[in-house]
Symmetry: C2
Subunit: 206 residues, 2 copies
């Protein structure tokens, strides 16, 4: 791509550094900004700059927060002995939106992934182990994705906690509530049969 | 989507104002920036801010440029009597990349589109008419997209130029050079038969 303007080329280059945004999309986005009032670009750059400079991570759960201790961790009505281990803040938001969970979270900040150069020391694992050691947690719920990396991370944490008194569970995998069996993948369907639950329990939850 | 951080919510909102970027994608992009060094966000916001504030449009062809008269318009080796009428700078870049065109451009900045509230007065049409009236242009090539809006815009300009001495042509529409006939749409294939060219001409161009 040949640009007639260095300013344009530079903006397109920086935009195309974002994941999933190629040069063509970047050019489309940048030209869109040029057609909009100058205020829109100002608001965008200000919001991104402020976020990156002023963002805090909750000292307890490591989730993104505007304050030192996030709203969830500082909420007295949440169950402090129940902690759900997730990868990032998107998982927290997804679980919060169900309205079904009243415990706390622990945000690891990623999964162990040797291919991407992410080892256990890059994640917030030691602070989780400390929390468990201090005895404040009764149950941990693993809610990482069911990929090789997710399973590896679960297992690594599990090994770190061996011998400590804490119940460890993992979220149920199975057929989605509104999904048809015939369209489910074999692994999910298989797990969903292996991990079947008493019908009376299902009645209670529905 | 419920956010635990106003800073995050604001950044996601501004990002999702870009076309084709929904809230989920915006969140993914913003979280990516948070994981990268602070410099990346700085470079992005600086590049966008500078572009929006300092961008110039060439006084002759209205294309994006860092200077008053763009490189193409000020290039003495381009044919000044031949002007290609395009919608925006992406079309200029596409035609330039062919290396086949040695004339100048005129960037309209859009197409006439009543549905989007874009009328002739929103486009750089009057300056094109002035250029033709001044007698400096021998041939205009319409290279707008072959949509209803593109055709309307072509026809509007054509009417404005009635009685003036200028040759008006439009780029050839037909089957792509490497495309198979069986996969071509009927309209394109039909046009490509109606507008067939002498075989000797095709030989010369290949």
């Amino acid at each position: 791509m040949e640009f007639s303007s260095k300013l344009l080329e530079n903006a397109v280059y920086e935009m195309s550094q974002l994941p999933g945004i190629g040069k063509r999309t970047a050019l489309r986005l940048v030209l869109h900004l040029l057609r909009q009032p100058e205020a829109q670009t100002e608001h965008l750059t200000l919001a991104l700059g402020q976020l990156r400079k002023e963002i805090k991570f909750c000292k307890k759960c490591h989730s993104i927060s505007d304050v030192e201790i996030c709203d969830i961790c500082s909420n007295p009505s949440r169950e402090k002995e129940l902690v759900c281990v997730v990868e990032d803040i998107r998982d927290v938001m997804a679980i919060e939106s169900t309205g079904q969970y009243r415990g706390l979270y622990h945000v690891l900040g990623g999964k162990i992934s040797p291919l991407d150069g992410i080892g256990p020391q890059d994640l917030k694992i030691s602070s989780l182990v400390e929390k468990v050691k201090s005895g404040e947690i009764k149950e941990l719920i693993f809610a990482l994705s069911a990929t090789m990396e997710g399973d590896t991370t679960n297992f690594y944490i599990y090994r770190q906690l061996e011998g400590l008194e804490v119940k460890i569970s993992t979220i149920a995998r199975g057929i989605g509530v509104n999904d048809e069996l015939e369209y489910a993948d074999e692994v999910t369907l298989g797990r969903s049969i292996m991990n079947r639950i008493p019908f009376e329990n299902a009645l209670k939850n529905s």
